[in-house]
Symmetry: C2
Subunit: 147 residues, 2 copies
DNA sequence: TTACGTGCAAAAGGTTTGCAATAAC
DNA sequence: GTTATTGCAAACCTTTTGCACGTAA
């Protein structure tokens, strides 16, 4: 079945190889799970589906998708970039649990509006923003790591 | 004359070598100018003051200062980390001009308060945050690059 | 005096790339 | 059939590190 990201690639007229299809599927599934895998993790999951894929191709494909605005990369303070499907309408930001590394997505309309106002005040039109909160859980959380 | 960052190092009991003094001075001056140099730039400026400094020592010193919370590093989307003096009381965030690369500092009390509220709503105590706005100037700006 | 810092050059680790083989359109 | 894509391995670039030498306290 055609994954959401594969469909986005087709819509953009990309030549769809098996490798791209597999990476698209991995990223679509990750997105559904609000997951933010890094390159190695995408490579691992892609290899599990089809062994014929190489790390170089994963890098090239991620860059291709990112340049096409199909996915976006994040730097959550770790060593490698992490990826998620680009948001269409539903923008969100991230809160990172500093103890577990878990990434929690959130949306706050007030925050979005405030950012526009701040940019305007400084004489700019906002084209993008990056907002990450780092916090400690007030109550102990279940043990999942990553996100 | 003793730079602000050199004084912070002395206060923390660091052994002050000539190299550390020079890097401290470069960073103090950059901070006064609201400048955010990367490693190469710090190395360049330090070398101009004293040729005996090596890139490895600049890396080691920046890491030392950062671990001591005397400076902080940022990833503004470029390839290298960029540095500024750690904020004592006057927290600020950054707006990056996507056309020129210029970095503009700003402070917004409402934003700070809102972030705390969002974290609390998600069940977290905020320990840090990273907020970067990327914008296009509404009016053409003078040609400085960097910041 | 002595533990710690430095310079050099080599290594590490993530990411990119040249090239010949391969596959999509 | 053409042109873009892939795998492999080597290159690249930033950052770290081992080691012998130097120096602050």
């Amino acid at each position: 079945m055609t994954s959401r990201i594969e469909q986005a690639c087709i819509d953009k007229g990309m030549k769809m190889t098996e490798q791209r299809r597999v990476v698209a599927r991995v990223l679509s599934d990750a997105s559904d799970a609000h997951d933010h895998p890094d390159v190695e993790e995408v490579y691992r999951r892609a290899s599990a589906i089809d062994k014929r894929i190489s790390l170089a191709t994963v890098y090239r494909t991620l860059r291709l998708f990112e340049d096409a605005a199909i996915i976006q990369s994040h730097d959550f303070g770790g060593v490698r970039a992490r990826y998620e499907a680009a948001e269409d309408d539903s923008h969100h930001d991230h809160l990172i649990d500093v103890d577990s590394g878990e990434v929690i997505e959130f949306y706050d309309g007030e925050l979005e509006a405030l950012q526009d106002r701040i940019a305007a005040r400084l004489g700019f039109r906002l084209v993008d923003h990056k907002m990450e909160l780092f916090g400690k859980a007030l109550e102990p959380r279940s043990g999942r790591r990553g996100g």
